[in-house]
């Protein structure tokens, strides 16, 4: 709570000057009229000065909850207690970026009697994900006659975590290889499971309940069913946070974070182990794990994601080994603009990781210029990007372009098709 800052309306000096001039004119002219004219002005100035004093109020801020989803409304409750009469008080909520106040009719300035308490409920809409501090208030007050204006700032920071609204996903990318724990992914290996894989002749040691009696009767010798076990997989979501492209409809990082939130939720629901690597000016990671706790840990880590300017050259060596387990599927979200993230992705592929890249198309954020040379440069840049995608495809890394407004489901389906085709070619 800072002190009141007082400003005087230019009305008060004007009244004093006119009143003083009237008194002097009365003396000089020897007439009562100048004094009579000055009387109401001087009376107003005297009453205004007598009544003016900074308001004595106490303001308390409370949030109705500490967590919200993007697009949801949060109520900020303001309790104002007046120790003295307050003629006019306006409380303005100064909100950080990503939050906006919904002004409704009748939520203007108030006046309070001494000892009165007024509760205000302000509706705040969470427009963008992220960790925010709410509770910066600007108080403006005036004396009963409006000669003085008072301003004060109150800071009672309350944390509000706005979670990204996850992209809706019906299908996820299937990893090339599975891990040892039970999960929802049908393994490519054969073993104990419920998914039918093949039929083979009976050998000593096979369980009797595995015998396929129909096939055995048809072929004249015992055959058994082979099954595929359901296993889990390790998935690492790789977020390129070196660059953020901004436009009116949101940023490239917004798209990446919402997509990552959707993927994380989807894979964790399938009992997969999911990890996170935020590769940018500041390097952040979370080791793969499963369960609801991991979901909250990851979403909490996601909402702290931000672009930090750095010229430091980083490689994968700085990431702890257990963050990128062998045989894990790495799904990268990147606008493919920064050389450091490109090198890191190529390095991942070189190390044999099952990599899929979702390119957040920067073309939607950068319009070609008006001049011919600018349009030529734009076309060259578009071609360079196509060549870059080709470079990844040559290495067996599917790169799918995700444009703003497109559903991620379709993009992931395209990535799955590319991966399937690549496997067929390899086979």
């Amino acid at each position: 709570l800072s002190a009141w800052e007082t400003t005087v309306s230019n009305r008060l000096p004007a009244y004093l000057a006119l009143g003083g001039a009237g008194l002097l004119a009365g003396l000089v002219l020897g007439r009562p009229e100048p004094v009579v004219l000055a009387a109401p002005l001087l009376l107003a100035a005297a009453v205004g000065l007598a009544l003016a004093r900074p308001p004595d109020v106490e303001v308390r801020v409370r949030l109705d909850r500490e967590r919200a989803l993007e697009g949801e409304e949060v109520d900020v409750e303001l309790t104002i207690v007046a120790r003295q009469n307050v003629a006019w008080l306006d409380v303005e909520l100064d909100l950080p970026r990503g939050l906006a106040e919904l002004r409704r009719a009748g939520e203007g300035a108030i006046s309070l009697r001494a000892g009165a308490t007024r509760e205000h409920r302000r509706h705040v809409v969470c427009r963008r994900w992220g960790g925010r501090l709410v509770g910066h208030l600007r108080l403006r007050a005036r004396d009963p006659l409006g000669f003085f204006a008072y301003r004060m700032e109150v800071r009672q920071p309350l944390p509000l975590r706005v979670y990204p609204r996850p992209e809706t996903l019906r299908r996820l990318l299937r990893p090339a290889e599975t891990q040892a724990f039970a999960g929802n992914e049908v393994s490519r290996l054969k073993g104990d499971g419920i998914e039918f894989a093949d039929i083979r002749p009976f050998v000593a040691g096979d369980r009797v309940r595995r015998i396929n009696w129909r096939a055995s009767a048809r072929r004249g010798e015992l055959h058994v069913n082979e099954m595929r076990p359901e296993r889990n997989s390790d998935v690492v979501v790789f977020l390129d946070t070196f660059t953020e492209l901004d436009s009116h409809g949101g940023t490239s990082l917004d798209m990446a974070v919402r997509a990552a939130a959707g993927l994380i939720e989807g894979y964790l629901r399938r009992r997969d182990r999911v990890g996170l690597v935020g590769f940018g000016g500041t390097l952040r990671w979370l080791r793969p794990a499963m369960g609801e706790r991991q979901l909250y840990r990851m979403i909490d880590a996601l909402i702290d994601t931000q672009v930090v300017l750095s010229y430091a050259w980083k490689g994968l060596d700085v990431i702890p080994r257990r963050t990128l387990p062998p045989k894990s599927l790495v799904v990268a979200f990147s606008p493919l603009l920064d050389e450091r993230s490109l090198d890191a992705l190529l390095d991942l592929r070189g190390r044999g990781y099952d990599l899929a890249v979702v390119e957040i198309s920067p073309l939607e954020f950068v319009a070609p210029g008006q001049r011919e040379t600018e349009q030529l440069a734009h076309r060259l840049w578009v071609m360079e990007r196509a060549a870059l995608r080709g470079r990844f495809l040559d290495l067996g890394v599917p790169v799918v372009t995700w444009r703003r407004g497109e559903p991620l489901d379709g993009v992931l389906a395209a990535a799955a098709r590319l991966r399937r085709d690549a496997r067929l070619v390899r086979a």
Binding site: L27, L37, P40, A109, L145
Partner: protein
């Protein structure tokens, strides 16, 4: 700009025009002075230029007093009414400017202005009655007037002292 700005400023200009017209009707040469005062007042509200309002009000007062002096008129019995209108004109002007900046005049302030206008009129009438009392003039009365002026200034200074 709030919706109240237009009516407030309109009322203020009408009142200023009436105040300027009253002495000019009695004495035609005051017309240009009245015109300048109203134009300045109008400019102060329209531009907006708050610094012009005190000058416009000062010109209105000068016009009124010059009219009285030139006509060598006896004590004007309508002076308290003129003073109340003068005060209301000033208040309406500033309220109009505030409304233009998005601040709505609040109810209690309107009541306070009305009360001050009434109180000012009563005070002005009392002063006029006091002036009508026949007492000898001369240096002692002038000294008393100077002392009263100083007392008013001191009183205002005391009221405006910094407080906790």
């Amino acid at each position: 700009v709030t919706r109240a700005a237009g009516p407030l400023m309109g009322a203020a200009v009408v009142l200023a025009g009436a105040l300027a017209l009253a002495p000019a009707v009695e004495l035609a040469p005051l017309g240009p002075l009245a015109g300048v005062a109203v134009a300045l007042y109008l400019a102060g509200l329209a531009l907006p230029w708050p610094g012009a309002l005190p000058w416009a009000l000062g010109l209105l007062a000068v016009e009124y007093l010059v009219g009285l002096e030139v006509r060598r008129a006896p004590v004007d019995a309508a002076a308290p009414a003129y003073a109340a209108a003068f005060f209301l004109c000033a208040e309406l002007g500033w309220l109009g400017l505030e409304a233009r900046r998005g601040r709505l005049p609040w109810g209690r302030r309107a009541v306070a202005i009305a009360g001050l206008a009434l109180g000012g009129t009563v005070l002005a009438a009392l002063l006029l009655l006091l002036a009508a009392v026949s007492v000898g003039g001369g240096p002692p009365m002038t000294a008393l007037g100077v002392a009263a002026t100083i007392a008013v200034a001191a009183c205002l200074a005391w009221l405006g002292r910094p407080r906790e």
